[in-house]
Symmetry: C2
Subunit: 171 residues, 2 copies
DNA sequence: ATCTTATGTCAGCCTTGTTGACTTTCCAAG
DNA sequence: CTTGGAAAGTCAACAAGGCTGACATAAGAT
């Protein structure tokens, strides 16, 4: 990619402008406001169906890694099993998620979206991708590459591992 | 590092690869995992003091726009006055925030951080800026510019207005 | 004098997070 | 075969922080 810019460049010069407190604060505020937009569209859909963000997250990652175990989902989402279980139970009851007993290890439950689950996932992800697509389109490919680099650098190492594991299939 | 590069399609001249569903999903997941990192450090500090993210947000924006009114804060934060009031009350009781009756319009309350409030703000923002600085440094100035462009494009128009209003002082 | 705005507050509800305790299932090591 | 421990589920209780609705005050605006 384009930027190498070790930023160590001209000492008393500039180019370190992007590391001033003011710039960092703007980045922080941008994250805050952008995240609101990021979740706004799915939130509207979810509210109609009587679900919340917790349901969205479960649906998203089950769709992304069909057959994932509860434990795996737990470590991706970073919540307690009790929290996840409440969400999962309602999704299973409502017929959006199917829980299959493991064949190798029958203690494990493997999670899959049902037809109805896939449909909701689609609806949610369509809305969220539309927003992301518009933002990407407005900013252009180079900006998108930078966006992704900064986000990745911002993750905790464990989350970065999850990110790569989930993401490594496909481009 | 890793393959962030949009392997760039040499389609009929332009790179639209960054708009594939897969790329968009990766962007969505990057936002999710990065936001976790973004809030992780302040969250740890807040927990020690018995506060939550809601307190952090109030402190942040009061610091950013000292003398702001309750109504203004309300529209920035996008919560109800009851929600904000609960948070504000505890901050005022604990002596972190001061509420002064307006001079021109005595119905308004203008909010300021006290010495103690400024100190906590500093502690929180130091932690958050440190993470942001490391991410910026790792990604470089060009990536940072792209990062900010995409985030801004992702905001709802009203949030973007707030962002610009808050941000337009300084660089 | 009346309408409206800004703020504060009480009560109650929901979602989603937490901890702790306990059970069931079942793999695997002794 | 027995037993230890991991995976999963469940129940109960609690807290933070959203929400709505209702109501009270003070004070600017008409």
């Amino acid at each position: 990619m384009a930027q190498v810019a070790p930023a160590v460049a001209q000492k008393s010069g500039e180019s370190l402008l992007f590391l001033t407190d003011e710039q960092l604060r703007k980045g922080i505020e941008a994250m805050f406001f952008a995240y609101r937009g990021f979740t706004a569209d799915p939130d509207r859909i979810l509210e109609e169906k009587g679900y919340g963000r917790a349901h969205h997250r479960a649906i998203h990652f089950i769709h992304r890694a069909p057959g994932t175990t509860v434990n795996n989902l737990l470590s991706i989402l970073g919540v307690t099993k009790q929290s996840l279980n409440r969400v999962l139970r309602s999704l299973i009851e409502d017929g959006l998620v199917e829980s299959r007993v493991g064949h190798r290890d029958k203690r494990e439950r493997h999670l899959y979206l049902t037809e109805a689950g896939l449909e909701l996932e689609h609806q949610l992800s369509d809305a969220q991708r539309a927003r992301m697509r518009d933002a990407y389109r407005a900013a252009g490919p180079a900006a998108v590459a930078g966006f992704r680099q900064v986000l990745e650098a911002m993750m905790d190492p464990e989350m970065r591992r999850h990110f790569h594991r989930i993401t490594e299939r496909g481009a």
